[in-house]
Amino acid sequence: MNNQRSQAEIVRQSLKSRYRKERRFRAYGVLAIAIALGALLTLFTDIIGKGYTGFLKTTITMEVQLDGEMMYLDDPTDERQIKMADFVEPLVQALIKEIPGATEDDRDQVRGLINPYASVTLRDALTANPDWLGTSRTMTFLSHTNVDVYVKHAGDDAYSIKLNDQQKAWVDELQERGVIETSFNDVFFSGGDSRDPSRAGILGAIVGSLLTMFVTLILSFPIGVAAAIYLEEFAPQNKFTDFIEVNINNLAAVPSIIFGLLGLAVFINLFGMPRSVPVVGGLVLTLMTLPTIIISSRAAIKSVPPSIREAAEGIGASKMQVVLHHVLPLAMPGMLTGSIIGMAQALGETAPLLLIGMVAFIVDVPDGFLDSATVLPVQVFLWAGSPELAFIERASAAIMVLLTFLISMNALAIWMRKRLERRW
């Protein structure tokens, strides 16, 4: 009796410290989550804080006199004349008119406010509308990148302002009068890469990513699912299949750059496929995602209860009918989830693409599987390494676009799992 009571006593006495221990243990868990969330939050605030200006462009709207004499042009349909015409002069003249106090002597400084490629915009507008010649039009052009940086980041130490005091005063005045404006950066979503940050766009990389992902999906999903079904349902259990299984698990852990080397050696050097094209990129990423898809598909097949197979077999279904009519449909949600996660991984991959030439300066938006292309993470990498400071915000903006794609893919995976998953 005495002994027992003292034991209950001991338990009661230790109770407090045990509760404390449990609370501490829980606190560690909360702390771990807080650290993870804090890191994520820092990442997001940094990227969004730096990058939101990337979604803005700075433009100059002015009345341009399309004077044929000034441009050495009397027939905009004549290709030779277009080649030799001066499309810069009307822009400079128009802007001088907008700036009170600016004269012909300031032309070099005024020209420094206009984007070097604005003349191309004017040329294209005139070749598309030859009847504009001799008229006066209100047109909107991109500003020079220096103006763009000044308008967005004046006073920010991270950026250096490359305008002189005279130009700054003009820009301030023009901004007040609404000649220089910032608006949504549609150029960013409608163009390819450029060495001029104001003109640089992400459409080329998005299209490149979609083409590459399409090739990856169309190859890795059927191959991965077929391999998983065979290994799970048909393959005999012996040393050889064990060996295959070990190798597949190994492949999932191989650094992705190795797949790039393999792609270079096999697809480009041996098969003679062109460099920098989405087909080769897709093939390399297929090799990389296959193990992930096979492993998750096998897990999905395994989770189908044996009673389903037995019931089907019991009413006389063949092995193939069992698999195709019962196991596969039930395992499909798990397979799709695994595939989407594998694809999301592939979407963020740059290392293997470096070796097959997809890390490249490509201006034209690709229009096929055999056109030179780059992908979203590569575009981020290229911009982040550019000497022009204005690319910092473009890189952060591109990261946001990439994250949007990744989040929506992962959300789709979760939604499908919730929606289609069956529990037994």
């Binding site: 490359k162 169309i218 062109p274 460099r275 920098s276 596969l328 490249a360 300066f361 490509i362 000497p387």
Partner: protein, 346 residues
């Protein structure tokens, strides 16, 4: 059964997509090579793309050595047409090219790139040899035959002719190409002047001769050259390392140090008469001219007065353009595309 068919169709479509790739004609010029030339070549490529009906060339920054290796891999559209280099082709690379059937190559020397040590006009200007520069900035220097952590605090500790002021130099971070060139062309060259450097193994040479001291005398300033300029103007005891083009832009406020008795000027750099300068090149595979459309036109855009003239757009992005006479030679080369020979490289 339906699912079966669908699977088969998808698999078939996949394999067709995979098989139809080889032996494709290419209509985009493919350029590889040096990261130093990359910023210039991309600007030319983009201008070329907007000016002409050809598609914009594709550029990969692979480094000079990597570019030449790819370039010399063979003839055929899976291999690049042009490679950029921040050094001349080596004879071994030329031989690799020859053995892979890339026999006809044209070389273009497109200008140079120089690095200066600058200070405010108010400050005492440096007149320094590369050897002294290494002794001032190297992470390890020889003292009585032993390599020890750099003990020099003042410039005058290195040599009494130098100012009696603390050594303080701002420069670009290790990620920068300017820093690479500075390490290689200034520090390593200065290090090699020392008798002790002869005994270093190859690995030691790289780790000792090409590393900058990290005890606070050399300040990494980030990639923002403007910030260095601002610091130099505000602080007369500070020296800065950056590309020549930046010095030129700020020549009203800054002065450049004399290295090995040579003052950096655009002429001296273009003529290779300044120690911390190098020439930039690109090489064209002649067998691809006429096969891949636009190569000849791209080369003539690169060598045009609009690009490389005294008011050319490449000058705006920092290239030290060749003198007029050299540019005219380049233009002739672009028209005739003479073959590079092994004798020229020796």
């Amino acid at each position: 059964m339906k699912l079966n068919k669908a699977l088969a169709t998808v698999a078939l479509a996949g394999s067709v997509a995979a098989m139809s790739a080889p032996a494709m004609a290419r209509d985009t010029i493919s350029i590889v090579g040096s990261s130093t030339v990359y910023p210039f070549a991309t600007v030319v490529a983009e201008r070329f793309g907007t000016k002409t009906d050809f598609s914009t060339p594709k550029l990969e920054s692979t480094g000079s050595g990597g570019g030449l290796k790819l370039f010399c891999q063979g003839i055929g559209t899976q291999h690049p047409d042009i490679t950029n280099a921040s050094r001349r082709m080596k004879t071994s690379e030329f031989e690799l090219c020859q053995s892979n059937g890339v026999t006809d190559i044209t070389e273009f020397r497109i200008g140079s790139d120089g690095i200066v040590i600058a200070s405010s006009k108010e400050a005492e200007n440096l007149d320094i040899t590369l050897e002294q520069l290494f002794l001032a900035l190297g992470s390890k220097v020889p003292v009585n035959g032993e390599w020890v952590a750099n003990p020099n605090k003042n410039w005058s500790d290195v040599d009494s002719s130098l100012p009696n002021k603390p050594i303080r130099v701002m420069g670009p971070p290790p990620t920068s190409g300017t820093r690479d060139s500075f390490n290689e062309l200034a520090l390593a060259a200065g290090c090699d002047q020392l008798p002790e450097a002869a005994n270093l193994s190859k690995d030691e040479h790289a780790s000792i001769c090409e590393s900058v001291r990290e005890d606070g005398a050399f300040i990494e300033a980030g990639e923002n050259d403007n910030l260095i300029v601002q610091k130099l103007i505000g602080d007369e005891g500070m020296y800065g390392v950056f590309g020549y083009s930046f010095m030129e832009e700020n020549s009203d406020r800054l002065q450049a140090a004399t290295l090995n008795g040579k003052v950096p000027t655009a002429e001296a750099i273009a003529a290779d008469d300044y120690p911390v300068a190098r020439s930039l090149f690109f090489y064209v595979k002649k067998a691809h001219v006429g096969v891949v459309p636009g190569i000849q036109e791209y080369v003539s855009e690169f060598t045009s007065n609009a690009a490389m003239g005294q008011n050319g757009y490449l000058k705006d992005v920092g290239l030290i353009v060749p003198p007029r006479a050299a540019l005219m030679d380049l233009m002739d080369k672009a028209e005739n595309m003479p073959n590079l020979t092994l004798d020229e490289l020796k």
